[in-house]
Symmetry: C4
Subunit: 243 residues, 4 copies
């Protein structure tokens, strides 16, 4: 590795480690789940947290590089998650995607047990498609290439896909985008779920939704990420990270 | 600025910074939302938290003065929220209002997704109008003057207005009043929401409500504020503030 | 005051201060609410937290003596709660009662908004009457003697009475008993409320309930209190108390 | 006791103390509940937390040995829980079981109040039987041998049994297995409960469930335990333990 590469490695490791800890603190990731970032300088490489490291205490050393072309980890590093196929297959078909989060947030999961699509119910969910996030109609682990390909196909061009009775995958151009999509998908799901209990929710549609999608998300990702990042730092969430 | 003005500035900045942190700790404000206070000595000026600063860690320096007459920030300070129109238009038509809170508390939001008015369901909500808080029937950002005027019109003489599928605005003579209105509106909404799930809630009405509104709110604002303020201080919520 | 009395005063103040902090930490008391203990050595005196002191940070000095006979505080101490009538009237008609808690726990409150009686739904609520805790059918503040008398009459011989759309009062022979009754009443209410959402709960009745009431509460009060007390101490809940 | 035995005792005490604290921090054990581990070297002995010690602050010294054959504690140690019969009778008929947890998690309890079986609703619950966990149809304390035998019979070969309107018992080959079963049973119950509120949940059945049970639980127990253990350590949950 050249010095430049080593610096970039350190940067990606620091960012992914913080993102995993942040997701854990924000209540959208527990004993399972992963965050990856694609290396802009080497777009066939992504960095992801290892299978075994605890999502509450992992460090930069637990973030491992993965080669999309050969489908193997790079170098003598810890084992990646068995569900690395999620990341590999999405990066292959979505060149716009620079980061991916997979986890099992509660309310998105519940909606899927009821067969309810995750639909924009409040302005916080106005980044979602009007018809709802697409669903991958199986609870199976995404631990084979065919499953990964089917999941990436289900995602299509959307920012999020729901894995029935299992979890969620969100994507973004950057780590803050993918993480904020996960947090806001879950927050929208909670509001939607609660409204479903008291009748028929008024979903956001048409011009009203299009307007929110246009107006509400300008500069929002960095601002939301900043909030969670600051909160995590204040609460000691990053203890043990170099930052 | 004269020394007197500078002292007043410091006072307003300290109060608003604390109020934002307190709202964050009390669960009614997250990555978005703002608190403002009108300067009693210069009633065409209000102080508000900046657009970008994290609501969990902002400090006095993030509270910026705003000129109601010219609709611009005063001096070389950080950018105010794009929704400053909420504050400006309400201060223009409500001379009794000395402080405003805008945020996105969960249960008020859910009621609005169901088209349920926020109505007094328990003594904690007895400051609300019998027919329920008025609703601004749009989820749009209040980032233009016409939207601000329409929102102020929807608020009318009430202590709170619900922004459909978006959030809430509460007002008061003082910062403690506006903040306590927000906290108690959300608490009432949660009780109301839960009761709606198990049948038809008994709402407070007529003489019973009038009596609670009269008896329960004497000296209540300072006492409730004191509780949240003390709790915040004990929990380290104010770390980094001069106080 | 004799030395003996002074020592007893210190004991009561320490116990009530801890009980208020514990109730606050256990989620059953916030900006309002009070705990009192009757002085066994002077049964016409009780000790209660003052009206204004924050329930999260009050100290022994905020616990004031009250004379049941004259209905006034004893000495130059802080103002007691305006609802002292709850305590006075219950102590007058229930010689078995040595401690009283009044607060506004969420789920008991919700049940009362729906007109649902608080009934034993799980073993944790088996101290409650089979027909449910009695209800005081008004949301009014108990700030007059007639209201206090009516509330005491509603309580009757029960361990708890629900104040419609307002709160709850629990009693016990000791502070641990009254506090544990409040915590377990709220826990039972939460289970009952949740079960009501999914159909008709199976309530505990007849021989089954009688057996639980007999078997489950032997030595339970001290053990439950010990758990909450230990947890509070570990979590720093008692910071600032002499203990 | 030989040195070897003493070392083993220390090992079991440390493990059970940590498991109780971990269950408490993970929200599945409060003032009641117990964890036991069978001594592999002396399979008629198990170690269990004492009746009285607080589940939030107990230490290794509060973990006591119990003789299955004589049904008495071993040596001059603190009193075991009156429900030791749960542990004794299960160990007698389930030689595969090396650890047992009994507690009163909220959502499993609620399902039992509604007479709903605890069924696999999401991949987290795919270790449960397709027809649901068996139920012990009584809320009574398991404080006699006949009750213990009846409970063990109700459990049968399952990993978990629901005690109607009372609590849950989970078992495993190791402490991590029994603890993870308890945490995941409660998590599945919460998802199932929430889905029941919005219609008919799609339960996992047949080939889909069998596949999840086969694929999802390989190496899962140690990984999940590691997460909760790391989180507990970071959060100070183990303060006062030697570890």
């Amino acid at each position: 590795m050249t010095t430049l590469t080593r610096d970039r490695a350190a940067l990606h490791q620091a960012l992914v480690a913080r993102a995993v800890r942040l997701c854990n603190a924000a209540g959208v990731m527990d004993f399972n789940g992963h965050v990856s970032v694609r290396d802009p300088g080497e777009p066939t490489t992504f960095w992801i947290n290892s299978r075994a490291a605890s999502r509450s205490t992992l460090t930069e050393r637990d973030i491992v590089p993965f080669d999309i072309t050969t489908a193997t980890r790079i170098g003598d590093v810890a084992e990646p998650p068995s569900e690395y196929h999620i990341h590999r297959e999405i990066y292959l078909v979505r060149p716009d995607v620079g980061a991916i989060v997979h986890s099992h947030p509660e309310y998105v999961n519940v909606l899927s047990i009821n067969g309810e699509a995750l639909r924009p119910a409040s302005s916080i969910g106005s980044f979602l498609p009007e018809a709802g996030a697409p669903t991958f109609d199986s609870p199976v682990l995404i631990n084979t290439q065919p499953r990964g390909k089917a999941l990436a196909a289900a995602l299509g061009a959307a920012p999020a896909v729901v894995l029935r009775q299992h979890g969620t995958v969100t994507v973004g151009r950057t780590v803050p985008e993918a993480v904020v999509h996960m947090i806001c998908a879950e927050e929208n799901a909670r509001l939607q779920y609660r409204a479903l209990q008291n009748g028929v929710p008024k979903y956001l549609v048409g011009e009203e939704l299009a307007n929110l999608a246009r107006e509400n998300w300008t500069n929002a990702y960095e601002k939301y990420w900043h909030y969670y990042d600051e909160t995590a730092r204040r609460n000691g969430t990053y203890a043990g990270l170099g930052e």
